[in-house]
């Protein structure tokens, strides 16, 4: 059990085998109170398994995990009192009405009778379900179901929220709504959410864990991950230049600039060329512009290609295409 009072979730060397196959291996991390943590990884990387273990639904093969100081295995009930969990498929009782369902969840989680009504109303309000409180869940749209799923996760005011792919299968408008909602909720709760969508994690989380084939491969803020990775990897600059010169000449001129590794010139139109330059020098854009102008070319555009979390993710998960 954890003795670190600073962090709400402690995971030490967590390993889970399904039969012989390891789903996660030696995963270690901790989450301080109030943090919104993103779990990023391709499908089947072990995100759901980790979350299910934390939520007390699955056992573990080796290692330890605790929530608020309670071991998920030996004190499962204490852990489950403190978490709100939204499974990946958003399972709900379709024949029930929204408010009735939330009331049932309160009863199952031991919310005292005097608070029950207020908690249900609060969850309904936070999730914007006032208009739907007496509708039958089976008749709600996917986005509304997701809100009901979030409402049941927060209805008993848990310390930790575990959200497994909260925006999977939603349309863009619903996705944005749900993200706003999670951000809102994240102000008062410690949240772990998983996703295979990078922009989502970048938009909602303060910290990202990247998991691949059951192992943690990165643990940092979204910003630092992209910056740090960009430094190692170098920059990519795209230029649009105008001039009568042959592409090979343009290429040679640009190659002369210090720090340039690679230049690819393609025709973009009549006397218009697109040059993609990669290199590792700090002032590369300025240097390239100067070189182009000196070579008698007109510079129309100079643009650094932004490295995204996606590039980091793809390279860390060994599926580098960029």
């Amino acid at each position: 059990m954890s003795h670190n009072s600073g962090s709400l979730i402690e995971v030490q060397g967590l390993t889970k085998f399904y039969d012989e196959r390891p789903a996660i291996q030696d995963v270690t991390f901790s989450v301080p109170k109030g943090q919104v943590l993103g779990f990023l990884g391709p499908n089947g990387a072990g995100k759901s398994t980790t979350m299910r273990i934390l939520a007390g639904f699955l056992g573990l093969s080796a290692g330890q995990a605790s929530v608020d100081g309670y071991d998920v295995f030996s004190h499962s009930l204490d852990v489950r009192k403190r978490i709100g969990y939204l499974p990946e498929t958003t399972p709900l009782y379709n024949e029930m009405r929204v408010a009735g369902f939330l009331d049932l969840m309160c009863r199952l989680r031991g919310v005292s009778p005097s608070l029950r009504r207020a908690r249900v109303d609060h969850a309904i309000e936070v999730c914007g379900l006032e208009e739907r409180r007496s509708e039958i869940i089976g008749r709600l749209s996917k986005g509304l179901r997701q809100r009901v799923g979030l409402a049941q996760a927060i209805v008993h005011d848990p310390k930790v929220l575990i959200l497994d792919e909260p925006t999977a299968g939603l349309d863009p408008a619903q996705t944005r709504e749900t993200r706003t909602l999670i951000k809102e909720i994240g102000r008062q709760h410690t949240v772990i959410l998983s996703s295979h969508i990078l922009s989502e994690v970048a938009a909602t989380c303060e910290r990202v864990l990247i998991i691949n084939q059951g192992r943690l491969v990165a643990d940092d803020t979204p910003q630092r991950l992209t910056e740090g990775y960009g430094r190692d990897r170098g920059l990519e600059i795209e230029m649009l230049v105008r001039g009568d010169a042959e592409p090979s000449v343009i290429e040679a001129k640009l190659r002369e600039v210090a720090g340039v590794d690679e230049v690819v010139v393609t025709a973009e139109g009549e006397h218009l060329w697109r040059a993609v330059v990669s290199g590792r020098s700090a002032g590369l854009r300025e240097e390239l512009t100067r070189a182009a102008v000196e070579a008698g070319l007109g510079v129309r555009e100079v643009q650094a290609r932004n490295l995204t979390l996606e590039d980091v993710f793809l390279s860390l998960t060994g599926d580098d295409e960029t």
Binding site: S76, L77, I83, Y85, M105, R109, P113, G128
Partner: protein, 299 residues
Amino acid sequence: MRAVATPMATQVQPRSRPVSKAVPVEPAGPGVADAVHAVVWRSGLLTVTAIARRELGALFVSPIGWVVAAVFTFLVSGFGFIGTVLAGQQATMEGVSNIITGLLSLILIPVLTMRLIAEERSQGTLELLLTSPVRDWELAVGKWLGAFAFYLLLLATTLVYVVLLAVYVPDKTTIAVAGVSIRVGALDFGLIASTYIGMLLVGAASVAIGVLASALTKNQIIAYVVTLFGLLAIWYTAFLIGFFTTPPLSLFFDYVAGYYRYQPFSLGQVTLRDTVYFASLAVGALFLTTRLLESRRWR
């Protein structure tokens, strides 16, 4: 049915619900009701009744519950009551209890129980239940209680026949109910009571076996078939084997045969031996269900 554009938009609606703003983050103050609730909640009884209530509710909103009730009522009145009482001219509840224990509990109880856990498993709602602070036995017992309560309601409808008999049987007798003497039909009320106790016990055990079968699979059809054959085996197979074997083997099979164990109740005898038989079937099946649910944490 228009979809709401943003969650924020709905929040500014001028609906006054003053309580929602003032939700305290920590659990409530030391109200007596809340203190009592905390103690009772720890016992698990509240979760059991919450689960049972939902189960009962689900049976009432789904066609399954109504179909079962319709078939039950139709067969009980047709064969159990009209056949025995009107055609057979016997003023007893024997026909009703025989068709319930001999046939309907075998074919209808599996319909009530097949979805209990199998559906939760296939829909994924089991994950919702088992990540709530609900102990595995609370889930098993809650499911059992929900379906058993429905069975009790079905049984309760047959009390109409007792009333009919009491009113229309020509021989009258006077009984005192709460100090008031009323004249009713001269029925063997002791026999009727023991029959009902027997039907309760048969139902309790059958529903528990149904819960166990439903916990085995996520396929409701499989759960139905397993329950049906399980009940048939307990009810009749042991009875048949006992019939064709000699002591001491036949003594064993005669004892485990539910058919024999029910007979005394239909004769007006409530014995400890037979009560223990049905109760241990129910408890045993629910115990195994609990173990099955627990096993997910070890796999």
